[in-house]
């Protein structure tokens, strides 16, 4: 199976990545090469096999429902690329 250029653009849009045309070209080749090698998985009959999402053997751990986090001060804003007082600045999202 071959990955088309159109599919690369579709996936890049889903991943919010702006690709240069030569980058998209190279990625199409890379993904094709990688997925071709990975196609060997389809040789295995897994119809009766449960998927493993996680290896853990213990259930959800719950703590008493009490407030433990100190109130956030200015800290979450210290790495802001742009801020306005206590707010993150972003481009306008509504016209």
């Amino acid at each position: 199976m071959a990955i088309t250029r159109e599919e690369v653009w579709r996936v890049a849009a889903l991943a919010r990545l702006r690709l240069a045309p030569e980058e998209a070209e190279r990625l199409a080749g890379d993904l094709d090469h990688i997925l071709e090698a990975f196609a060997r998985l389809s040789a295995l009959d897994t119809r009766a096999v449960e998927p493993t999402a996680h290896v853990e053997d213990f259930g959800a751990l719950l703590r008493p429902d009490s407030v433990e986090n100190p109130p956030a001060g200015d800290e979450p804003l210290t790495n802001a690329p742009a801020r306005d007082g206590r707010f993150f600045r972003v481009p306008k999202i509504l016209e």
């Binding site: 295995l44 751990l61 790495n79 481009p91």
Partner: protein, 486 residues
Amino acid sequence: MTALHELSLREAAARVRRRETSSVELVRAALARIAAVEPAVGAFLTVTEAEALAAAEAIDRRVAAGEDPGPLGGVPVGIKDMICTAGIRTTAGSRILERFVPSYDATVTARLKRAGAVVVGKLNCDEFAMGSSTENSALGTTRNPWDGSRVPGGSSGGSGAAVAAGECHAALGTDTGGSVRLPAAFCGVVGLKPTYGRVSRYGVIAYASSLDQVGPLARDVADAALVLEAIAGHDAADSTASPRPVPSYSAVLEQGVRGLRLGLPREYFVEGMQPEVEAGVRAAVRELERLGAVIEPVSLPHTEYAIATYYLIATAEASSNLARYDGIRYGLRIPADSLGAMYETSRAAGFGTEVKRRIMLGTYALSAGYYDAYYLKAQQVRTLIRRDFEQAFQHCEALVTPVAPTTAFRLGEKVADPLTMYLSDIFTISVNLAGLPGLVVPCGFDTAGLPIGLQVIGRPFDEETVLRVGAAYERATEWHRRRPGI
């Protein structure tokens, strides 16, 4: 007399406790060593000289006041730059986090400090831990201390190189598919990937959350055991950190391997392996047999599917985890007219080639029409891989295997072909998929003078047995005492 920077972590901590050496002296020795070898090694992205000296002075005051400085008291350590350090830049080796300064410590950072360790700096790695050679770091090149034309392994290449070169007495790495064990093998040091859930991931920058685990790199097994004791255990901030009690790993190291059944998986000795690696590992297995272990041939039949399974699951999880880098609250932002354009241009400028490749692969595997064929399929094969280990462990207490098919390869040798690079992980990734502990100890050198590693894989939460095997092997051999001539 052994130079201060060459002391084992245990010996350095014991000297501080006995007041024979001060923590400030140890830190100054480490900083001097860093200044001397960094131009050739390049293990560090950030050296925290002022903070380390202040922390060392505080330890020395506590010792002078008769207090116990902790099991790692006063000893210089390094931390992979995937792990958050309050007030110290934490980059994940990426342009997108080049100026990111966390406001809090990861749980493992806090626990190291609580045990008295002094952090001397942050160590280089492949960007977001995606790589097997550290060549994917956007922020620097790390070279193998045994041969500067070779890679240190990855993704925790800075951690392996710094410990091997004597720049710190131990280091933390992270291991998602072999990222602690491969650099340990390539740099000739000890590395341990604990069982999934043994160590908290809180404050560790996420790559693939069902596989990521923090582990120590050290100069011998006893030092690695000591660091694991300090960082392991339940953490209210990470619901995947197991509530099981943490045993005293140091207490079991003398027990030896007599009567222990060690499995030798036949799929881990394959065509195309560097013959010296196979010979080195087979000699180590014979040594363990001489020490009284019983070697059992076992089979892990789904090994050949592990790379595909891993790279589908890990990239799917990564594409989701890395969605958070959007230029809004932290990290690189490239200003643009609209919000959508800002996301796309910031991510395009901030991520390197391999990270983009993995985000694209993972997004593709999760996207409509491909989910069942790739992601769900990989999760099902993950079950089969896990069962292979469960069946093998019915016949033995641990497995002994090579770490990688070759010793350290040359810088630039594999960067052009991602699939060739992925094959470096063939003997390490199944361990992450099954969530098992894996220890690496040095077991020889090839004719080019490059280290060979032996991997010991254990049952879930049985770090004690893998450490016991590693310690018994170390007592019988001298490989772990060799240091690069840098």
